[in-house]
Symmetry: D2
Subunit: 436 residues, 4 copies
C-alpha cells in the first residue's frame, strides 16, 4: 500500500476499483433526486477522533502519535494544517469540534478561553483558504476533573458558572466561524448513583443553561440550530439525555422545542436499545430531526465503540429517513468515528473515511432506489388504507366518541387485519440493495 | 409442608418464624411513620397471573391446572371465589384485572362485553362480602388475534373501534366496582418493523383513544387516575410507551398530563435499561407518579420474567421513593408477578405472595429507617449546598445570564467539587439494611 | 398477490424479478465452486415452526389456523401432506422434526411412542414419493409438564427414564427414515435458580443419557452425527449447553468428542453474546462443526425471535465458514425460523422461505466471491507471516522455551505490529457484496 | 469526616457503629466455622486500582493525584510505602500486582525487567517488615502498544517472545516474593474482527505460552497455582477466555487441567451473562476453583465497572460457594475494584475497602448461617432423593441402558416432579440475611 504522503486527492473510480485509496460509490457531484451527492450527505470530519484520538482505551495507551513532535499552540496549528489537508484529500467539506480539540487548555479557564479565541482566527483562515465550513461547534464539559459531577448539572454552583463560560466561548467561536449548529452532549449530565443525587434540581439547572445559551446566541446573531445529542449512559451510569423521546420530554417541559433539535448518533441509539432508524423516525415524528453523528456500534458490546459506519443496511435506512425528512437543513453527517486501535497508521484514517463515505454514498443510492422502487411505500399506504375512507377517516379527523365507536364495533362480525409481511418487505429491501 | 386447604389466614409471626405459611415482616397494623403498614403498601393481587396463568411458556405447556374442572361462566365464578378466598388468606385488600381475566370471551365482541357485565355483578357481590377493593381495571387489547397489529395503533380502523368498545366496557366495570384507577398497557402498541409502519399516524390514534377514554370516564363520574404502564418491548419489538420519560413526552405532546400518571413496573424498568428506582424518580420529577406493578426481573435475561419481588435492596429503594412522593393516593402495589413454572402447587402461590409481601414490608421498614437515620438525605443536602447561598441561589432563581456567569467563572482560580462518596453511601445503606 | 393454492413450484427468475413468488438468487442447479447450490446449502424445513407454530406468543394466541379442521392422526397425516407439498413448491429437499411435531401425543408415553411409530411409516412413504430426505430427528423433552425440571437433568429418576424412552423412540424413527443426524437441544437442561440445584449430578446424568443414546444408535446401525445445539438460556435461566465452547468442554470431560458435533443456531449465538460466525469458527477450531439452524435474531431483543434469515452480511460470513470447513457432510441448513406473528397467511410461509433461501443463496455466491477475490485471505496470511520463518517457525513447532524467548526478546529494540486494517477489510467485504 | 492522615488502624466496632472509619462486620479474629474470619476471606489489595488508578475514564482525565509529586523509581518506592501503610490501616494481609504496577517501565524491555527486579527487592523488604504477603503476581501484557494485537496470541512472533520475557520476569518476582499464585488475564488475547484473525493459530500459541510458563515456574520451585482469569470481552471484542466453561475447554484441549485454576471475577461473570455464583459453581464442578477477584458490576451497564462489592446477596452466595468448596487453598479475595471517579479522596479509598470488607464479612457470616440453618441444603437433598434408591441409584451408578430405561418408563402411569419452590427458597434466604 502507498504511504500517506504519496496519496493525493481520493478520486471516485467506481465499484470495480481495487485501489484502496479510491471511492467505489462516493461520487461527490453525481446527482441523486435532483441534488449532488455531496449536498445530500454533507460529510463532516470529527476533530476529536480524527485529529486527537490516538488509540488509547481503558486498558492500554496510545498506538499512534498525533503530537507532530510539537507542544502548545504550535502543535494545535500543525494539527489544524493536517486536518484541513486531510479533509481536502477526502473531499470532506465540513468539520465539527469541541473547544479543547482545536486549542490547548491553559492553566486557568481564562487562559483556555483565550487560546480558543486565538485558534479560532487560525481556523477561520484555514476555512477561507479551503472553502471548508464548520458544521457545528461545542464545548467539552466532561473531560476535565471539575466536571466530574456534571457541568450544567454539577452539584457545584461554580462549576455551573464554568460551564456557562465554556459555552459562551464555544458559541463565540462557532458564530465567528459561521457554524450552522451548536451541540450539547451531556456526557456527565446524569448520575452514577441516585443515593447522592437531586434529579429535579439538576434538570432544572440543565434547562437554565440551555435557555441562557439560546438567548445569548440569538442575541449575537446565531441563526443556526441548537442540538442535544442523546446518549443513555457512559461515562455516567445514567445520562439525562437518554434518547430522542427523553430529550423531547425535556424540551417540552422547559419550553425549548423551537430552538433545539436532535443530533442523533447511531451508536448511542443502539446503546439505548433502539435502532438508528428508530431514533431518526422518533425525531421526525416529534419535529426535531436535526443532524447525525455517523458511526456504528457493535450490538454485542455494551459501550460506545464509535466505529466507522460500514453496514449498508443501516446507512440505507438512515438515508431513507433523511430523504423522507426532506434532507438536512443546518445539519449534516459528522463521522463521530475513530479508527480501531489496531488501525494505527495514517493510511488507516483515509481507509476508514473512504469506507464510511462509500457506505453512506451507497446508502443514499439505495435509499433513493427504494423510494423509486415504490413497493415499500405503497405497502405502508395500503396497510393503513382503512383510515382514508369511512369510519377510519372520521377517526383521523377526531370526529368520533368512545360510545359511538363502541356501538359500531359491537356490530362487527369479524375483524380482519392485513398481514404485516415483514419477510416479504425484507426480501424487497434485499432485492433493491443487491441488484447492483 | 401443609396442604393449601389446611392453611388458614397467614399471620404475622416475626423474623424468627420458620413456619413457611407465616409473615416474618408484614404486620398489617404495625404503624410506620404514622400509618399502618397496610395503608402504606396497599397490596393488590394480579388476577391474570394468580388466577389464570398456569405455567405455560414459549417452550412448554401448563404445569398447573386452574380450570377447576369447569367451563364457561361457572369456571369464572369459581375462579372469583378462589381469588377472594386467597386474598383473604393473605390479607391482600385490593385486586387488579383485565376484562378477559374475570369473564369468558364470547363468540363475538358483544357477547364478551355482556359476559364482563355479568361477572362485574358477581365481583361486586364478592367485594361487598369481603371488603376487598378494586385497585384498577383494564382491558386486554393484546391477546386476541385481531390486536396483532395493535389496538389504538392498529392499521385497521375496525380494530381501533373494537379497542374503544373494550375500553368502554372495562371502564364501565371499573366504575361500577369503585376502582380507583384504570390502566393502559400497550403491549401491541408499537411495531415489529419500521418497514411497514406509519409511526406518526399510530401515535396520533393512540392519543385519540386515550383522550376519548378520559372524556367518557370523567363524564361518567370516574374520579380516579388513568395510568400508562411503560414497557420498552415484548411482545412487540418496540413499544411506544418505552419508559416513563417517553410516556411523559407523549402525554405532554397530546395534552394528557393532567389525567394520566404512571403505573411503573420493576421488570419493565430494567428491560428499558433503567433501575426501578430510576423510573420512580423520573415519574416523581415529572409529577406523574401513580401506581406500581411490584415484581422483579432477572437482569441477565432479556424478557419479562415477572418474578415475585424478593430483593430487599430494590424494595427498600422503591419504598424510599414512595415515601418521598408522599405515599400512594389512588395507586398501590400490585403483584404483577407469577409463580415460577416449577413452583406449580397452590401452596407455592401462598409462599410467593408471602415472600413478596415480606420483602416489601421489610423494604418499607428499612426505607423509613433510612429516612430516620438521616445520613443519606443530609449528604445530598450538603452536596448541593452551594446552591443555597450566593451565586448558587441566584442560579436557582434564574437571575443570571451566560455572560454574567462567564465573567464570574473566568476569575475563579480553582474549582472544587465534593467527593460523591458512593461507596460510603452504599455502606450506610447496608448498615441500615442489616442492623436487624 | 396470488393465493397459496394458485402458486406452483417457485422458480428461479433472477435478480430483476419482481414476482414475489420467485427466487432472485437461489438457482438450485447453478454450480458454485464445483457443486450445485443445492448441495452446498442443503436447505431443510423445520417441521415445528412451519407446520405447527401458529403465531402464539407469551402475550397472545394464535393468528393462523394450522389444524386443517382435523383431529388426532388424521390431522397429522394432513400436516405431513401439506409439509411435503410445501417443500416441493419450495424445492426444499430436507426436513427436521421432533417426535411431537409429526405425531399426536397419546394419553400415555407408550401411546405417544406408538403414534410416532405409525407416523414414521407415513413419513417414509412421503419421502419415497418425493425424494425428500430427513436431515435430522429429535425428541421434544421440554414441552410437557413432566420435563419442567429437565429431561436428562431432571431431579426425578422417572423423568430421566422417560427421557431415555423418548430418545430411543426418536432414534428409532430417525434410523428408519434414514436421517443423517440426531439432535439434542436441552431447553430444560439447566436451572432456574442455583438455590435448588445440584449442578454436578445433573451434568453427570446428562452425559450418561447422551452416552447411552450413542451406544444404542451405533448398535442399531446409525452412522450419522449426533449434535448438541448450544443455547445459553430461555426457557431456563441458564442452559448447560450455553455455547459451542461450553459444549466442547462437556464433550471432552465425558469422552464424547468422537460422536458429537454442533448444531449451531444463529439466534442462539447472539443470545450467548457471540456472532454467528464466531460460533461456527469455534466449532471448526475444535473439530466439531456439524449442522446449522439458519435463522436470525434481533440483537436489541433478549429472546429467541427465530426470524427468517435475511441479513446478507450474516449469511455470507456463515457460508464463508462453511466453505472453509469443507462444506457440510451430514449436516445442512435447517430453517429454524418462524414467520412473524403478523405474517399470518400461507403465502407468508412461502415468502419467508424465499427470503431466507435467497439470502443464503446470495450468501453462498458472495462467500465464494470473497474467496476468489482473495484479498481477505491474503491479508490474514500476511498478517501472521512472522510465524512462517525464523523464530516464528520455531514457536509454531514448539521448539522454544520461556528463557530462550526471553533472552531473545530482551535484545529487540523496537517491536512492530502490523495494522489490523479492520475498516479496509470491511470496505473489501462491501465491495464484494455490492458490486452486483 | 476525618482526614486520611488522622485515621489510624480501622477497628471493628460492631453493627451499631456510625464511625465511617470502622468495621461494622469485619472482625478479623472472630471464629466462624472453626477458622478466624481473616483466614476465610484472605483479603488482598489490588495494586493497580488502589495505588495507580486515578479516575481516568474514556471521556475524562484523572480526578486524583497518585504521583506523590515524584518520578521514576522514587515514585514507585513511595507508592509501595503508601500501599503497605494502607494495607496496615485496613488490616489487609495480601496484595496482588502486575509488573508495571510496582515498577516504572523502562525505555526498553530489558530496562523494564531490571526495574521490576529492583522493586522486587524493595517489596520483599516491605513484606518482611509488615508480614503482608503476595497473593499472586502477573504481567501486564495488554497496556503497551506492542500488545495491541495480543501477547501470546499476537500476530507478531517478536511480541510472542516479548510476552515470554514479561511472564518470565513476573514469575521470577512472584517466586522471590513467595507468591502463592500467578495469574493470566488475557485482555488482548482475542480478536476485534474475524476478518483478520487466524483463531486456531492464536489458541495454539496461547497454550504454548502457558505451557512454557508452567514448565519454567515448576523448574524454579513454584508450588502455587496458575490461574486463568475469564473475561468475555473488553478491551477486545471477543476474549478467548470468555468464561469458566470456555477456559475449561481450553485447559482440557491443551492438557493444562492439572496446573491451572480459575481466578473468577464477579464483574467478568456478569459481562459473560452469568451470575458470580454460577461461575464459582462451574469452576467447582470442573475441579478448577482457585481464587476470586472481588468486585461488582452494574448489570445495566455493558462494561467492566469494577465497583467495590457491597451487594450482600452476592457476597453471601459467593462465600456459600467458597465454603462448599472447602475454602481457599492458594487463592483469596482480591479487591479488583476501584473507587468511583467521583470518590476522589484518600478517605474514599478507606471507605471503599471498608464497604467491601464489611460486605464480604457479612457474606461469610450469612453463608455460614445459611449452612447452619440447613433448610436450603436439605431442600436440595430432598429434591434429588429419587436418585438415592432403586432405579435412580442404578442410574447414578451407570448400570442402565437406553432400552432398559425405555422399557421401564413405558410402564409409568404418571410422572411426578416436585415443586422447585424458588420463591420459598428466596424467602428462606431473606430470612437468614435479615434476621439480624
Amino acid at each position: 500500500m502507498k504511504h500517506y504522503n504519496e496519496i493525493g486527492k481520493i478520486a471516485y473510480e467506481g465499484p470495480g476499483s481495487t485501489d484502496p485509496f479510491s471511492f467505489r460509490y462516493y461520487d461527490a457531484g453525481r446527482v441523486i433526486a435532483g441534488k449532488p451527492m455531496k449536498e445530500h450527505l454533507k460529510f463532516a470530519m470529527s476533530y476529536w477522533h480524527t485529529i486527537n484520538a490516538a488509540g488509547t482505551d481503558m486498558f492500554g495507551g496510545d498506538t499512534m502519535d498525533k503530537t507532530f513532535g510539537l507542544d502548545g499552540m504550535a502543535r494545535y496549528e500543525k494539527k489544524a494544517d493536517f486536518a484541513f489537508e486531510l479533509m481536502q484529500k477526502l473531499g470532506v467539506e465540513y468539520y465539527c469540534f469541541h473547544d479543547v480539540d482545536v486549542a490547548p487548555e491553559g492553566k486557568t479557564l481564562a487562559e483556555s478561553v483565550e487560546n480558543l479565541r486565538r485558534m479560532t482566527d487560525y481556523l477561520l483562515k484555514k476555512q477561507k483558504e479551503t472553502g471548508i465550513k464548520l458544521l457545528w461547534g461545542t464545548a467539552n464539559m466532561f473531560g476535565d476533573k471539575k466536571f466530574m459531577a456534571g457541568a450544567g448539572t454539577s452539584c457545584s454552583a461554580d462549576v455551573f458558572a464554568a460551564s456557562a463560560a465554556k459555552v459562551k466561548a464555544a458559541l463565540d467561536a462557532t458564530i465567528k466561524l459561521g457554524g450552522a449548529g451548536y451541540v450539547f452532549w451531556g456526557g456527565r449530565e446524569g448520575y452514577d448513583t441516585l443515593l447522592n443525587t437531586d434529579m429535579g434540581l439538576e434538570l432544572d439547572n440543565l434547562a437554565l443553561l440551555l435557555t441562557m445559551a439560546r438567548d445569548y446566541a440569538r442575541a449575537h446573531g446565531f441563526k443556526g440550530d441548537f442540538y442535544i445529542e442523546p446518549k443513555p449512559k457512559e461515562p455516567t451510569k445514567h445520562q439525562y439525555d437518554f434518547d430522542v423521546a427523553t430529550c423531547a420530554n425535556f424540551l417540552r417541559k422547559y419550553g425549548l422545542m423551537d430552538d433545539f433539535r436532535m443530533n442523533i448518533e447511531a451508536n448511542h441509539a443502539t446503546l439505548a436499545g433502539h435502532t438508528f432508524q428508530h431514533e431518526l423516525r422518533v425525531a421526525r415524528v416529534n419535529g426535531i430531526f436535526g443532524s447525525i453523528d455517523a458511526n456504528q456500534g457493535d450490538l454485542l458490546l455494551g459501550w460506545d465503540t464509535d466505529q466507522f459506519p460500514t453496514n449498508v443496511y443501516d446507512t440505507t435506512l438512515c438515508m431513507y429517513e433523511v430523504l423522507k425528512a426532506g434532507g438536512f437543513t443546518n445539519g449534516g453527517l459528522n463521522f463521530d468515528a475513530k479508527t480501531r486501535r489496531q488501525s494505527n497508521t495514517l493510511e488507516d484514517i483515509l481507509l476508514a473515511y473512504i469506507a464510511g463515505m462509500d457506505a453512506f454514498a451507497l446508502g443514499l443510492i439505495k435509499a433513493q432506489a427504494l423510494i423509486e422502487d415504490g413497493r415499500i411505500d405503497a405497502f405502508v399506504k395500503e396497510r393503513y388504507a382503512s383510515y382514508e375512507t369511512g369510519l377510519g377517516k372520521e377517526i383521523r379527523a377526531g370526529k368520533v366518541t368512545l360510545e359511538g365507536l363502541s356501538d359500531y364495533a359491537l356490530t362487527v362480525k369479524e375483524f380482519s387485519v392485513p398481514s404485516g409481511r415483514q419477510e416479504y418487505l425484507e426480501e424487497v429491501l434485499n432485492t433493491v440493495l443487491f441488484r447492483g
